[in-house]
């Protein structure tokens, strides 16, 4: 099975590390089907014990934001530093928060 570009379809790989709570994107592999994608992800991305669980997703299934809309999507958040927890001073009397 080949795509029109002559390459096998691309899959995005997500790994959950030994002490991690959620899967994180680590890269991509080429594979003809899901089973091969998991096998290839195992061979390419877990050689040094990086993961205990693998997810693969067809790259074509990923919907991305438009780089051209970067301004309207992300810039409004830049000047709202009060949304960061470090913005507030914690009174000395508070032992735990």
């Amino acid at each position: 099975m080949k795509t029109t570009s002559g390459q096998w379809p691309l899959w995005e790989v997500f790994l959950r590390s030994r002490n991690g709570l959620h899967h994180q994107h680590v890269g991509s592999v080429h594979a003809v089907d899901a089973e091969m994608a998991v096998a290839n992800a195992r061979d390419v991305y877990t050689r040094r014990g990086e993961g205990v669980s693998i997810w693969v997703v067809p790259s074509a299934a990923i919907v991305a934001s438009d780089p051209g809309e970067k301004g309207e999507l992300f810039e409004p958040a830049l000047d709202k530093v009060y949304r960061h927890p470090t913005f507030y001073e914690i009174p000395d009397g508070v032992a735990n928060i």
């Binding site: 096998w8 592999v29 080429h30 594979a31 003809v32 089973e35 091969m36 096998a39 290839n40 061979d43 390419v44 050689r47």
Partner: protein, 225 residues
Amino acid sequence: MVSPTSEQLLTYADGALILSHRLSEWMSNAPTMEEDIALGNIALDLLGQARGLLQHLGNEDELAYFREPQEFRNPLLCELPNGDYAHAMIRQLFADAWFAEVWPQLAADGTVDIDVRGVAEKAVKENAYHWRHSSAWVVRLGDGTDESHRRTQDALDAIWPYRGEVASDQWYARVEPVLAQATLTTPGRDAWIQRGSADGWHTEHLGYLLAEMQSLARAHPGATW
């Protein structure tokens, strides 16, 4: 159960070592980058298994780098040249099915040295993955396109005579269903079998393989990284 002899352990060690070297020859030449890394992983697993046994049997470097071809005890299967990917995967399937019998037996054998059992226990899991990899590829290639089917059947016909040193009832029971699923025709259990390496006979290919594998250690004895 009769404890394996040193000669048998050497057969397993040499089989893993020589096959590991053959797989390493694929580096940068496999059909895809992902397969390149997969074969490298398998080669390293096999090398680790070989080292574990060779360290038990003597000085691993002496054994790996300073023996002559006729002193090697690997099944001839393991030294066969790479050929195309169908040849590589059929050879791997045969070897993986052999080790699938070897490692659990060693791991469960209380008369075997504790270090050897340790090697075997680790190898059981490694082998399970190798088998998954090779059997999936044999089915994919055999039951694939007309060309991949033809090439895989050619590979099976060419390598089948070399099953003699690794085949048992268990081995056939493992291999035959995969070949059937791959829509390949086996020449049959009674088909001709190539003479084995037990008395020091090898194919012409082993000499060339060793010339390359041993050249560095022989040119620079005792060299370290």
